[in-house]
Amino acid sequence: MSRATGAGKLPRALPATGSDLLRDCLPGRGAILRLFAWVAAESVPALLSGLCLARAIDALQDRRPAAVVGALAVMAGAIGLGAIATRALYFSLAIVVDDFRDTLMAAVVRGSLLRMTDDGRPGPNTLTQLIDQVDQVRNLLSAVLRGIRSTLAPPVAVCLGLFALDPRLGWAVLIPLGAALALYGALLRRVLSRERAAAIAGERLGVCAGSIVQAIGDIRGLSAQQWAQDRIDDAVGSVAAADAAAARTVAKRHLVIAVGGYLPLFTVFLVAAPLLAEHQVTVGAVVGATTYLLTVLIPALSSVVSGSGGWFIQLRVLLERLALVAGAPLPAGGPASAADPEQVAVSVRVDRGQVALQVTDLTFAYRPDARAVVDGLSFTIEQGEMLAMVGASGAGKSTVALLLSGLVRPTSGSVVAGPDQQLLLVPSQPYVFGASLRDNLTYLARHPVADDHVSLCIEHCGLRPLVNRLGGIDGIIPAGLDGLSGSDCQRMVLARSYLSGAEVLILDEATSLLDLDEERRLVAWLRANGRTLVLISHRLDCAVTADRILYFDGRQVVSGSHRELLLQSAQYRAVIDFAVDAE
C-alpha cells in the first residue's frame, strides 16, 4: 500500500473497450504474478488433503501407525505454509485492487471532464453513478480475485491430487468437470447479454432519476409531480424486469454443479467398484477421491454459482460501460492547448504597442454547408478600451466570444492578441467549487497574490458579506455550494478574473445576475484598473458606455460608437428608444 495515489498515474492511451480499460488500470505484471503465486501456494493444503488421507487410511489398514502419523504431519506442515501464503496474498490483493481503483477513478474522472468540456454533455451515465460504478468495479475485482482462490484453484488442486492418487480416478472426475466447464461457457454468452441489459436499465434509471431530482424545483412549480413519479416508476419497472430475467438465466448455472460436482461422485463409484473388487485400487484411494469431491470440489463449484461467476460477468459489463466514459476522445486540438492564451496569438506581430486585440475578416460556420454564424467580422480593440456586443439572443455573440478566446477555431480570418496581452473568457454560468474562498479567488492567478490585494478585490466585488458569513477568506465553501446565491458566484468569478492578471477580459453575460448599479460599478472598477473589456450583455445600460459597440441584429453586425450606431442603424435606434422609454 505504498504506491502514490491520486491523479499521478493514468492510462497513457485512452482505452476503447472494457478489457483495454482493465489492462490499463491494473498495476504491472509483477504484482499480478505475485498474486497468482500466492494463490498457488495457498492451494497446497487442498491439493494434499485427499492424498494424505488416502495414505493414512491405507497405512491404518496395513497397521503401520508411523506412516499414519507421517501422512498427517505432512498435512500439518502444508496447512502452516498455506496460512503464510494467505496472509501474503491479502497484502498483495489490497495493493492490486486499490491501485486499480485509484487509476480507474482518475481515468473516469478525466474522461468525464474531457467530455463535459468538449460538448458540455455527460456520458450515458450520470456523474454520481460513475463514481458508484467505479466502486462497484473495485468490489467486483476484489471478489473475482478472491473468487479465483475459492473457485479456480480448488478444481485444479483436486485434479492434480486425483491423478497422483490414480489416473483412472483422475479421468473419472476430469471428463464430467470438462463437460461442466463447456456448459458454463455456453451459458456465459446468454448470461452476459442479460446482465448487460440489466446494467443498462440501471443506468437509465440513474439518468432519469438524476434529471428529475435536479429539476425538482421546476417540477413542483409546474405541479408535474405525477409525471415525474410515473417516469421514475417506469424506469424502476424496467430495471426490475431486466434483473428478474438475468436471475432466471443465472439460475441455470446450478446445472454446472450437478454436472461438474455431483456427477463425478457417480463416475468415481462406477470406475472404482470393479477396480476395488480386483484390488487394483485401495479403499484409501476411493476415500481420498470422494473426500476431494465432497470437501473441495462441490463447495468450490457452489461458490461459482452463488457468486463469483456472476461477479466476473458484472465486472465485464461495468468495465464496458465505464470505457465509454474513460475513452472519451480528446477534443480537437487538445483541451489544454485550446485555452492557452498564447495559442491565440498567431504568428503575426502587431507593431502598435497599444493594440489589445485585432480581428480580421473573422468568419465561422459550424459546418461547411451551414450558414455562417459570423461572416467577415473585422475590428481592433485598443488596450484599456471597452467593446460591447449587444443584440438579439442567438445572433452569434457567444460564438464571437469563443472565437476571440481561441476556444473555437475560425473557418477563416484571424484573431491576433497584442504583445503581452493575456485573454480570459468568463462564461455566463459561474464556476465555483468546494474549497476555501481564497482558493476560488486565486484559482487563475499566475503568481502568489498578497492578502492586501485579495482584500481590496473582495471589497470592490461586493464579497464582504460573503466573507463575513464564511468567517474569513479561508472559510470553506462546501462541495455542492449549499447556501451560495448565483450573484455571489458571479461576484467571485469576477474577482477571480481580475486576480488572474489577464489584461483582456471577455465577459459573456458574466454580470447577468447582478443589479444594474453593481454591474456598472464593477465594470468601471475593472476599466480603472487597466483591463481591456469585451462585454456581452442583454442589458443596454452598461453596454452604451462602451468605446465601441457591435450590434448584432440577427442578420449582420454593425459596429461603431453609441452615437455612430444611433445614426447608422434604425433597428439599433428602435431598441435604444424602447429601453430609454422603459426606464
Binding site: 494467505t86 458540455g120 405541479s223 409531480q225 413519479q229 428478474a244 485555452a339 462541495a479
Partner: protein, 559 residues
C-alpha cells in the same frame, strides 16, 4: 411506508416464500448426501450390495439441484420486485415531499441517487442474507448431530474450532462496520466535486484548467484508500486465521477418526461422512460474508428510512375554486424562514387583484425568488396563509394545483424528452395546435420550426441560448392555462424587444390569469399594473401604475 422498509419481503410475499421453502428443502436434501456417500463407500469396502444406496443418492442430488434452481429463480425475481418497491417508495418521497421551508436542501442530488440505486438494492438483500444465515445455522446443528451419532469424539474438535471461529467472526463484523460509512461519505464527496465541475464545464473549458480539476476532484482518494486498507486488514486477518483453523480441524478429525477406526468404533465410510459434515459445519464460515452483508443492509435501511420517513403523505383534500374568471391572490401575514431559522420573508400581507400583471422587484437577496416560490406553493410558509380565490393554497393537494398556479423559472430544466414533451410536461397528450399556439405566444415557434425534427426534436441534442431556453420555459408555463402565473426572473435573458412582446402575450385577452413577474428590470416593471418592491424580506413599496390595459381594481392594498 416505513413498515415496508422494515420488512421489505412483504412487497413480494409469494416469491419470497417459494424461495425460502426451496432453500430449506434443498438444504435438507443436500445434508443427506454425505451420509449416503459414506454408506456407499462402506458397502464397497465390505463388498456388499450398493445399488439401492446409489439410487437414493441420485434422488438426493436431483432434489438438491432442482431446489437450487428454484430458489435462485424465485429469490432473484423476488428481490427484483422488492428493490423496485423500495425504489418506488423512495422516489415518491423525493418527488412529493412537502413541508415548511425551502425544498431539496436536505439531500444532495448525488446522495439521493446513491440511495435510490445502491442502498435500495442493499436493503432488498435482507431476506436472502437472513435465510442463508438461518440455513447455515441449521446445517451446522444437523451436521453436529450427525457427527455425534457417528462418534462423539469427532465432535469435540469441531466444537472447539467453531467457538474460536465465532469469536473471530464477531471481531470481523465490528472491524468493518465503522469504515463502511466513512468510505461512502468520501465517495459521495468525489461525486459532488465532479458535479460541481460539470456545472462549471464552460468555465473549465475557457480556463483550460481541466488537469487541475482532475487533481481537485480525486483529492479524497487517499482517504478512501486509508479506509479501504482498514477493511483489507480486517479481511486478511480473518482469512489467514481461518486458513489455519479450518484445515486443522479437519486434520484433527482425520487423526481422531484413525484412532476410532483402529479401535473399531467407526467404519471407513463413516470417516468420509464425518469429514463431509465437518465441511458443512465449517461452511457456516461463509456466513462471515453474509453477516458483513447485514451491515450493508442495516446502513441501507437507515439511509432509506431517513428519506422515506421525511415524507408525510399529504392529507389535504381541498379543491381549487372552479371559475372562468381570474382569481385574486391574498397573502395573509406570511413568514418564510431560511435554513438558519432567520426570516427570508417577514410577515407580509397584501392583496393582488384578480387579473393584474404584477412586477416584484428588489435587490439581490431581498427574498424575490422566495416570494415567487411561496405564491406558487413550492415553498410553504412557516406561518400565515397564501389564499388564491379565497382558498388557502396549503389545503389544495399538489396534484390539483396544475390549473391553479404555475411557477416558471429562469433556467427551465430540459426534461420531457422532446420539445413538445417539455411544453406539455405532465399535461397528458396535447394537440399539436395547442403546443404550437403556446410556442407562438412565447415567441419561440420560429426557433422550434428551424430545429431538425421541429417539435419532436430531442432535448438532449438541443443547443439553445439562454434566451431561447427561457422562452421555451414560458411556453411550458403558458400551456398549463393556470389561473395564477408566477415567473421568477424567467425573461432575464431575453433582449428588451422580445421581452416586451412576451410580457404582452402574457396579458393578452383570453388568458384570464393573474401574472406575477419577479424581475430586476425597470423596463418590465413599467409594463406592470402593480409594482411591489421587496427589501430584506419586507414590502417597502407597492405602486399602482395607471395603464389603459389594466383591470379597474388595480389597487394593491397594503394591510
Amino acid at each position: 411506508m416505513k413498515d415496508a422498509m422494515t420488512n421489505p419481503w412483504r412487497i413480494a410475499p409469494i416469491w419470497t416464500s417459494v424461495a425460502v421453502s426451496a432453500a430449506v428443502v434443498g438444504t435438507a436434501t443436500s445434508l443427506a448426501i454425505p451420509a449416503l456417500v459414506g454408506r456407499t463407500i462402506t458397502a464397497f469396502a465390505q463388498g456388499r450390495e450398493s445399488a439401492q444406496l446409489i439410487w437414493l443418492l441420485i434422488a438426493a442430488v436431483a432434489a438438491t439441484v432442482t431446489m437450487g434452481v428454484l430458489a435462485a429463480v424465485a429469490g432473484g425475481s423476488g428481490s427484483a420486485l422488492i428493490t423496485a418497491g423500495i425504489r418506488r417508495a423512495l422516489s415518491r418521497s423525493i418527488v412529493r415531499t412537502e413541508g415548511p421551508g425551502v425544498d431539496g436542501v436536505r439531500f444532495g442530488t448525488s446522495d439521493l441517487i446513491t440511495r435510490l440505486l445502491l442502498d435500495s438494492s442493499a436493503l432488498s438483500r435482507a431476506v436472502p442474507i437472513a435465510v442463508s444465515l438461518i440455513l447455515s445455522c441449521a446445517s451446522l446443528l444437523v451436521g453436529m448431530v450427525m457427527l455425534l451419532l457417528i462418534d462423539w469424539w469427532l465432535l469435540v474438535g469441531v466444537v472447539a474450532g467453531l467457538l474460536l471461529l465465532t469469536a473471530m467472526l464477531r471481531r470481523y463484523i465490528d472491524d468493518t462496520a465503522g469504515p463502511i460509512s466513512t468510505y461512502r461519505e468520501s465517495q459521495a464527496e468525489i461525486g459532488q466535486r465532479l458535479l460541481d465541475a460539470q456545472r462549471g464545464s464552460a468555465s473549465i473549458r475557457a480556463y483550460g484548467t481541466w488537469m487541475r480539476e482532475l487533481a481537485r476532484i480525486v483529492r479524497p482518494l487517499p482517504v478512501l484508500r486509508a479506509v479501504g486498507s482498514r477493511l483489507w486488514a480486517a479481511q486478511g486477518r480473518m482469512a489467514w486465521r481461518s486458513s489455519i483453523f479450518v484445515p486443522s480441524i479437519q486434520l484433527s478429525m482425520v487423526g481422531l477418526g484413525c484412532v476410532s477406526m483402529a479401535a473399531g468404533r467407526i467404519s471407513v465410510g463413516q470417516l468420509v461422512t464425518a469429514l463431509a459434515y465437518s465441511t458443512v459445519i465449517l461452511g457456516a464460515l461463509d456466513g462471515v460474508e453474509a453477516a458483513a452483508g447485514l451491515n450493508l443492509v442495516k446502513a441501507g435501511r437507515s439511509r432509506i428510512v431517513e428519506v422515506v420517513g421525511s415524507w408525510t403523505p399529504g392529507r389535504v383534500t381541498g379543491s381549487p375554486p372552479s371559475t372562468d374568471e381570474p382569481l385574486e391572490v391574498v397573502l395573509d401575514s406570511v413568514t418564510v424562514l431560511g435554513a438558519d431559522g432567520g426570516p427570508i420573508l417577514d410577515d407580509i400581507s397584501l392583496t393582488i387583484p384578480a387579473g393584474a400583471l404584477v412586477a416584484v422587484t428588489g435587490p439581490a437577496g431581498s427574498g424575490r425568488s422566495t416570494f415567487a416560490g411561496m405564491v406558487a406553493g413550492t415553498i410553504v410558509p412557516a406561518s400565515g396563509n397564501v389564499l388564491i380565490g379565497g382558498v388557502p393554497l396549503v389545503q389544495i393537494p399538489a396534484a390539483a394545483r396544475a390549473g391553479l398556479v404555475v411557477l416558471g423559472s429562469s433556467r427551465p430544466a430540459l426534461i420531457g424528452e422532446t420539445v413538445a414533451g417539455l411544453i406539455g410536461l405532465g399535461l397528458g397528450p396535447l394537440t399539436a395546435d395547442v403546443v404550437a399556439q403556446n410556442a407562438r405566444d412565447a415567441h419561440i415557434a420560429d426557433v422550434i420550426d428551424a430545429l431538425p425534427g421541429g417539435y419532436l426534436a430531442r432535448l438532449d441534442e438541443l443547443q439553445l441560448s439562454g434566451g431561447e431556453l427561457q422562452r421555451l420555459g414560458i411556453a411550458q408555463a403558458m400551456a398549463r392555462n393556470s389561473k395564477v402565473m408566477v415567473l421568477d426572473d424567467a425573461t432575464s435573458n431575453l433582449d428588451a424587444a422580445t421581452e416586451r412582446e412576451v410580457v404582452g402575450a402574457l396579458r393578452a385577452a383570453g388568458r384570464g390569469c393573474t401574472c406575477i413577474l419577479v424581475t430586476n428590470r425597470p423596463a418590465v416593471a413599467r409594463l406592470a399594473d402593480v409594482v411591489i418592491r421587496l427589501e430584506a424580506g419586507h414590502v417597502v413599496s407597492s405602486t399602482t401604475l395607471s395603464s389603459s390595459t389594466a383591470p379597474s381594481s388595480t389597487m394593491a392594498s397594503m394591510r
